[in-house]
Structure formats: structure tokens, C-alpha cells
Symmetry: C2
Subunit: 439 residues, 2 copies
């Protein structure tokens, strides 16, 4: 492998062959191409990009760098779901039992939280007993019996992406759509489901700042997935305020459980889930269009079938809902910091990144992989954008551990920084901005 | 040091502060910024460049990464010389005793050959007994008594450049003028001479392919040197055929000695030396202009003072000219492969890169630092561009070791590939293309 020559091609703006990209990734994973050549190439890609063909080839090289799963034919249709990350994003907690209740199998692998966004595995682990590592036979049995499973990302899937991602993070070579697509899609291809739905979030709390960036990702992701004969649809959803009300691991599980039980209705959260489910049903060939898919989703929800499925799912993975209720009781020992409206007004903005960073700083997330988290801390946003409030109304509550070094007023100030009130009616954007169905 | 943020600035096209560049270089040399971040930054520089101020700051950070030499006032004027590298480039062998004979002190450090170009240290080491490492007191005494010295590049000068250069070589981040200038000028600043002359070679056998690239280097090098209060002049010289006749370590020393003795006259070599010497005399304030400087240089040469100085120099560093003559005798045991003209014609081209690569492949150079070389192998180009020849005339001779695995005809074919003959008169470009004097 002439790595310097490979780098030279990309710096000069020439295209790589599929074979050269494969050799480069193989050598990188084997360590025969050193990391300093890898990052020089990544930076050249930041400037000169990759063609669709090169992105497919890079994705394929990623997929073949590790183990590839496949599911028995009797489990079809199988659907996988991925979110590009947001604040208060508990979509998977609802969507897995929900789609399972409509007859789809959802074998999902999830990650942990990093930075200002959370991870589904951290959320599920706030349920006492919940096992995020299953033996293969347990996983297959659960998919057969319950229809869904969510386990921690296997370390032997797409090792190339782990290597590349860690280096991209350290070298400002993250924000190039071809590299993001190769990273996301390779993991979904290796995980083996035949249909893929991507929740592409955009806005202040998301990786993609605007709809153009989100759309560029969605368009390329669908093209690359198609090269692997996978149906891939994308839902572009707004992340200009936290999704739903709660941010924090146990608080988000609580919100999801209340929504599944029908005793709370976080409208934006339900809308994102119903839309993702609808496009999945279309991709699986179970529904003709998104409209009818949506009807099927909402009907399943109202029937109680989804809540029944959720209980079976959590129990199958060893989680105890009574244990979870007991754990939530211990929130009484936490400091409770409330933010009240100082005058009459309408909520104009709830900055998702500030809320996400506050929750992380309270101990609910991590800056470094492997750091310990406190599942109970978090924030509940009682008032969302466009809520009208009077002076003294409760806007948000933060739960901090007794040992947190900051004073209540410091934490309250952090909450207040995320909220803007005004006199005008605020116009919250629709949460689902665009749907790009598999071709 | 937030290296990722530092990389981000350059990727975004923003300028670095002097402090940030210094911190980055310090951390890189200390190893706290890993090489994979260094190369990502280098690649961002390939695309977004450095301003003159940034290049000065990078050069300064390089200079301060190691030991800095300074010369006692009584040794002034001191002149250092650097060549950007060519084939058959034995300029230093002549220029050191030549300028010393005019009253200038030349404390020079040189490198070894790598790739298709040679290094002065390899050439000097072909003289039996020649010591390329001197104690500091020996060096000072020699500068006082003889006026010149050439020693192997000290490892504690500009360690940052060593680190950066090795990584640039492996990541296709060599060819950016700001990085080249920082590398070259930092070493000259750290070596302490008050005047610097740069032999900037351009053409088929040089690092700079054309005069525009060479001029861009020269202009920036002078600006950066000026920021350190050094006078720096540049001579842009052609490298479209080997300089002089011989290519190979001992063969080049032999050619230089014959020129110094006045028994051979390689016109292009003499012209480059006289011009470099003339600008140095102007920069030192010893001559008013290049024309009078050139007269002084040529007069010293004709007087025999330069040859006398050369003998004292070689003896001072332990070299034995009789030992060298004996070593050259052993060339009789080498294979001698001759290339003759097949028909009447005029030499149109002598490809310097092909000659340089042939000499390296014969064992006269190295692909990897530290490899052993054979000082005696090489090529003598009897016919240079524009030479008229008849069928059967000798064009070039290669000297190969008896153990070389290639047949005579293979080596002859390699020689032949470098030569083009035609019927038209060839127009060799002037060897000195442009002189840029210190401002």
C-alpha cells in the first residue's frame, strides 16, 4: 500500500478506485498505514470530497472491516433505525415496541451518550436489571417472540469506523457529509436489517445546523444504502428545542413509559415516531404510502398493543418496571431546582444545546467515553416553545445530585439561559420537516 | 493546547496567532500533540496556506525548538549557503574555499543524499579521513584559520523540522512553499551566519519544476529571513541537466578538485559558484554590486588562492588528497559501461532525474536515511546539452560495482534513456536564471 501516493491522489482532486480505498482501509485497520497518514488523507477529503462511487467504496470497506450480521428469513421484514442525535431524543424507546406491534422485527444496536446528546443504551440502563448485552441465541429468540431488541453496539462491527471516527474527532475532519454517511450507513449495513430508517435531525441542538445540510446527508445516505440493496428512508426532523419534555436518562424513560401508557402526550415525540414508523412500513412493503402507514401506527398505539409490547420487551431484556419506579422515588433525595417565569409571556426559544450541556454537566452525560454517569439527574421542560405563561409559572425543573458543587442559583441561571420569553406568539416549526422515501 | 481547535482554524481558512503556532510546535516536539493531528494540520495548510506573518512565526517556532548557534564577532562576515537540491550539485565543494579565499567565513552544515539528489556530506566522506563531525573548539579554530568548514547537520538544531519533515514526506504535504521556506530558513537562522545565499534550482531535476515556483520560494524565503535580521539573497539556477559532468560522490569530488586546480572547466558549475559568491560579497558589504563581486570571485579563482584554500580546508578536517587519489584508482576494479552516439547529432536533453536515479540505483545514494552507499559508483556525462557528436563518440560513462545485479546492457539502456540526440542545434538555457538580492 503506497499510502503517500494514495494521499497525493486525493490532494490533487483525483478519484480513488474501489480497490485502492479497500486497501487503504484494510491497511489502516491492520496498523500498517499509520494514523498520521490516515488523518492527512481525511483532511484532503475535507477539501476535495468523495464521489458517490468513492463513498460507496469507503462504506463497503468499512462494512468488510468487521463482522457482518444477517437475520434468518423468517424474521423479515427487519427494520433498523438511526438518529443523527438530538437532545431529549427518546424516539427508539417508543419506536421499537411500536413497530414490533405492527409485525416488523427491529434488531437494533445503540450507543452511549457523548457530549451534549444522550445515547439509548444509557437510557435503557436506567431501568434496573436491563441487560444491554445478549447472547446471539437470546437475541434471536427475543426477536422471534417480542419482535424487537436493543443491545449495545458490538465492538466487532465496523472496527474501521471506530478508528476513523476517533481520529476525525481529534482533527476537525468530522463535518464532511461523505465521511458521515460512510460512518452511519456502514454500521447499519453491517447490522443486517433489510430496511433502514434514518431520523436526520437539524437545528440548534443537532449535528446538522440547517435543512440543507440534513438533506445532503439524507440524499447521499439513501444512494449509498441502495448500492447495498437496502431500502433506506429518511425523516428530517427539527431539533430547535428538546424533543418531548424530559432530558436525562431515567427522566426520558419515564416520559416514554408515560406516553406508551397513554397518560402523557408529548406531541412532537409522537409525531416523529409515527412518521418514522410509517415510512418503515412502506419500505417493508406492508403499507402502500406514508399516509396509510401513519394510520396503522396511530391505531396500534391507541389499541394498547404498543404498551403491551413495550412491557414484554423490557421484561425480555431483564428490565424491571417496578424497580424503575422505585429508582425514580430516590429522586426525592436529589436537589430540585425550579425555573419560574418572571412575567407574563410566551416561550420563544428553549435552546436544546444549553439544556443538553446542563444535563451533561449535572452528571447525566459524559465528555469522555467510559466516564460514569448518574442516570437520575436531568431537566424537565414543562413549558415548550409557544407556551403562554404567567409570572410565577413553572418553566423547567432541574434535578441535581446532593453532591453537585454548584449552587441552586447557578444551576437555575443555566436553565434560565436556555429559555427566552417574549410578548409575541412564537411559531414552533413543524417537527417533521421532510420525508425522503427509499427510491 | 487545543490542537483540534487549532486545526479547525486553519481548515476554516483563518490565521493563527504567533503564540498559537509556537504552542503547537512546542507541543508537537514534546509529543503532547500526536502526529495524527500534526499531519491533519499540515494537509489543511496545503489547501489554505500560511500568511507571511504565519510563516515567520512557524519559522521562529522551528528555530526555538532546538539549539541556536552564534559566531564570535571577529569571525564576521559569516555566510551560509543552501541549495534546494540538484543532480551533480558540487557547488559547496567549490564555494566554501572560494569565498573563504575572499575573506568571508563560511560555517556550513550539510546533509546526506536522499532520493535522486546527493548530499555534500556523502561527497566529502568519499575523501579518506575527512571528518564531518568537529568539536566546537575545532570548528571555531578552523573558521579562524582556514575560513570555512562543512560538518554534518547537528541533530539538536531545529528538531521540529525533522519531525515535521518526516511526516510531510509520508503524507504528500511537502510541496507548499510556506512549509518549504520554514524548513529551509529555520535551519539557516539556527546555524547563526549573518548572510545567507540560497541556490534555488528549478527544472526537470529539481524540486521546483519551473521558475515561477522557484521565484515564489525565493521571494518568501527572503521576507522570512529579513524578519530575523539576516541578509538573504537567492540565485535561481537551471537544473535541466546535471550540473558539471560528474554525478556520484567521489566522481563529483574529483571534478571539483580538477576545477579548483584549473585542469578542467565545467562552465555551468563555475558560473553558479561565481554568482552565489558575488551576491554573498555584496550582502556582506564587501562589494558594491554583483558585477564587481563576480570580478573579485573570478580573480581569486585564477590566482590559485582558492585551490590553496581548498587544500588547507580538506587537510584541516583530516581529509587526505593522496588517499583520495588512491581510492579513485580502485575504480579500475569497477565495471565501466559506456554510452556512444549511434549517429551524428546534437545532444538535446540529458535528463538529470534519470541520471540521478541511475546513480542512486548503482549504490551512490539511498532511498532510506541510514542506508549504506558506495562512494565510487556514478556517472560521468562527457557530452552535455548542445554538444555535437559523431557516431561512436562517447556520451557518458557509468561506473558500477562488480556485484551489481544488472547486466552492462541494462545499465547502458538506463544511461541511453537519459540522453536525447537530434539534428537541430540545442539551445541550453543560461544556468543562472535570476538573482534576487537581499532587500
Amino acid at each position: 500500500m503506497d499510502a503517500a501516493g494514495f494521499i497525493r491522489r486525493k490532494r490533487a482532486g483525483d478519484a480513488h478506485t474501489e480497490g485502492a480505498l479497500r486497501d487503504f482501509v484494510v491497511a489502516a485497520v491492520a496498523g500498517t498505514v499509520p494514523e498520521y497518514q490516515l488523518t492527512a488523507w481525511l483532511m484532503a477529503v475535507m477539501f476535495n470530497g468523495l464521489s458517490v462511487e468513492e463513498t460507496v467504496a469507503l462504506t463497503r470497506a468499512f462494512v468488510y472491516s468487521g463482522r457482518r450480521l444477517s437475520w434468518p428469513a423468517e424474521l423479515e421484514p427487519t427494520v433498523d433505525k438511526h438518529s443523527t442525535g438530538g437532545v431529549g431524543d427518546k424516539v427508539s424507546l417508543l419506536l421499537l415496541p411500536w413497530l414490533a406491534a405492527t409485525g416488523v422485527r427491529m434488531p437494533k444496536m445503540s450507543g452511549r451518550g457523548l457530549g451534549h446528546t444522550g445515547g439509548t443504551i444509557d437510557k435503557l440502563e436506567s431501568i434496573p436489571g436491563f441487560r444491554v448485552n445478549l447472547e446471539e441465541r437470546e437475541l434471536l429468540a427475543q426477536l422471534r417472540d417480542v419482535g424487537c431488541a436493543d443491545i449495545a453496539q458490538s465492538t466487532d462491527l465496523v472496527p474501521a469506523d471506530k478508528l476513523f471516527y476517533a481520529l476525525r474527532d481529534a482533527t476537525d475532519t468530522v463535518e464532511r457529509v461523505e465521511l458521515i454517511v460512510a460512518s452511519v450507513v456502514s454500521k447499519k449495513i453491517a447490522a443486517g436489517a433489510s430496511c433502514i430508517v434514518l431520523d436526520v435531525k437539524c437545528g440548534a441542538g443537532a449535528f446538522f445546523p440547517d435543512i440543507d445540510a440534513a438533506r445532503a446527508f439524507a440524499v447521499l445516505a439513501r444512494k449509498v444504502a441502495a448500492a447495498f440493496d437496502r431500502r433506506c428512508s429518511c425523516v428530517i426532523s427539527a431539533m430547535d428545542e428538546p424533543l418531548g419534555w424530559a432530558v436525562g436518562n431515567a427522566l426520558e424513560v419515564q416520559e416514554a413509559l408515560q406516553a406508551l401508557r397513554g397518560i402523557a402526550f408529548p406531541a412532537d415525540l409522537i409525531e416523529v415516531c409515527a412518521t418514522l414508523g410509517a415510512v418503515a412500513l412502506v419500505d417493508c412493503g406492508m403499507e402502500a404510502d406514508v399516509h396509510s402507514g401513519r394510520q396503522v401506527m396511530l391505531k396500534a398505539f391507541e389499541s394498547g398493543a404498543v404498551w403491551e409490547r413495550a412491557q414484554r420487551w423490557i421484561a425480555a431484556q431483564g428490565g424491571s418496571l417496578s424497580g424503575f419506579a422505585e429508582r425514580l422515588e430516590t429522586l426525592r433525595d436529589y436537589r430540585r431546582i425550579e425555573l419560574w417565569a418572571e412575567s407574563q409571556g410566551v416561550v420563544q426559544r428553549v435552546e436544546p444545546r444549553l439544556i443538553g450541556e446542563l444535563v451533561r454537566s449535572l452528571g447525566g452525560g459524559r465528555l469522555r467515553a467510559g466516564a460514569t454517569i448518574d442516570p437520575l439527574v436531568g431537566v424537565v421542560c414543562h413549558a415548550k416553545v409557544d407556551a403562554a405563561c404567567n409570572a410565577g409559572d413553572l418553566l423547567a425543573t432541574a434535578y441535581a445530585s446532593a453532591g453537585d458543587s454548584r449552587s441552586d442559583s447557578e444551576i437555575r441561571n443555566a436553565l434560565a439561559a436556555a429559555y427566552s420569553l417574549g410578548s409575541e406568539k412564537a411559531d414552533p416549526a413543524a417537527v417533521v420537516l421532510e420525508v425522503l422515501q427509499a427510491g
